[in-house]
């Protein structure tokens, strides 16, 4: 059974998670991808502290519709996380973000960031845009929409039972590194 996580979440609850754990996340979280990460690290906007503290960042550039003056996500799967590797650990430290949700995993700097700041990386299934959009119940706010455009804007939204798997934990374990190492070994055997 997946573990239920309610946001905002405490550092202790996050440190209790281990790579391989399946979770379902509910509460308010925030989308941020390439332009937003550069912006958070270079400009350090103060107004984001309130929404990010104890929350999670979702690497996602959604398809967004507007009905009766209200936004809604039409398609909202994860985007490739590794592009944020230069920024993520700093963002976690700066804003006390407890989880990063994306796809494909991240590198050693983020793994170290998870250890140091008490965070986890959670893997959502890439391409699952229609299913995951159903887990988004409400768009609460949006920042930098005019500046960054729809996919890159910072969307604040409420999720219900958003499914993900912990693949990098705060104890230094990364499933991604284990699979990369194992597959590289098989590759060498296939070359013999």
């Amino acid at each position: 059974m997946p573990k239920k996580i309610q946001l905002p979440v405490s550092e202790a609850d996050i440190r209790a998670l281990h790579a391989g754990d399946e979770v379902e996340i509910s509460g308010i979280m925030v989308t941020a991808r390439d332009a937003a990460h550069k912006y958070m690290v270079e400009k350090k906007p103060d107004y984001l502290h309130k929404v990010l503290n104890g929350s999670m960042i979702y690497h996602c550039g959604p398809v967004v519709g507007k009905e009766g003056g209200k936004y809604r996500f039409i398609a909202a799967g994860p985007t490739t996380s590794i592009r944020e590797e230069p920024y993520e650990a700093d963002v976690m430290g700066l804003y006390k973000v407890r989880g990063i949700i994306g796809k494909g995993g991240m590198g050693p700097k983020t793994l170290e960031g998870c250890k140091q700041h008490g965070g986890v990386y959670l893997h959502a299934i890439g391409g699952l845009a229609a299913v995951l959009a159903e887990c988004v119940t409400e768009i609460v706010d949006v920042y930098m929409l005019d500046e960054f455009g729809v996919p890159e804007a910072i969307w604040v939204f409420r999720a219900k039972d958003f499914p993900a798997v912990v693949t990098m934990d705060s104890h230094g374990t990364s499933l991604h590194k284990a699979i990369l190492d194992a597959s590289t070994q098989v590759q060498q055997e296939l070359y013999k």
Partner: protein, 286 residues
Amino acid sequence: MQDAFLELIRRASTQLPKDVLDAIDAYGRKEAEGSMARNILGKMIENAELAEAKSVPLCQDTGTLLFFIDYPKKTPEKAIADAIRKAVAAATKKGYLRPNSVDPRTERNTGNNLGAGHPSLHFHQWDKPYLRARLLLKGGGSENCGIQYKLPDKRLGAGRDLEGVRRCIIDAAVQAQGQGCAPGVLGVCIGGDRGHGYTVSKEQLFRKLDDPNPDKALAALEARCLDEINRLGIGPMGLGGATTVLGVKIGTANRLPASYFVTVSYMCWSCRRKQMIIRDKKVRYA
């Protein structure tokens, strides 16, 4: 014609081809019961069914729109291009496409998927009396996994022969891990110049998964690469398992004596390709 292209885009964005669905289903049955790999492949099918039923994009990254158009002499190329551009803008407004076109100089998103090189149009006039339009929606995550090798390659021990090509294809899969949304399809071009190599490798992605290569040696190489890559253990989304790719499709283009490129384009599991035929004003999709 604009409406016909709008419908082509809608179908490409919201309907996963049957051969891809069948392959995901078949591979899912081979993964261990209760495993994460099997669970993920099952979710992929669930997503495809939901997207089609609700007519919403399969994936929020509706990608680069690659149109390959074969057209009869009597149809002016410009009329087709104009109809496509209008259809693309309309499809973006309707939410079938995400606004996905960014000017790298100003960093502004054009908001309608139109701009320099967008959509990507490949025109070819032919002798047949009808128009064939093929559309591929290729997401950025998978496009970032594309790679081009220049043989010989010392790191891979790859020379200028099909054994060298095999090493490149396996390496491309290892480097991609789950980043391109595995299990994907690899489109490969042997030869060509650098630019043409990528075009041919992408055109290979229109082939159905069970479409055998007419060249016997290439057919054997496709089958061998498919089998060997699925032994790497990368699995769906790179989280482990026996399903790393759904297909390997290899084409060729003549090369210069001095050059030997092997180009690999990665297509995500959400392999969004659709074809449209317009004959005597009648439109048919496949």
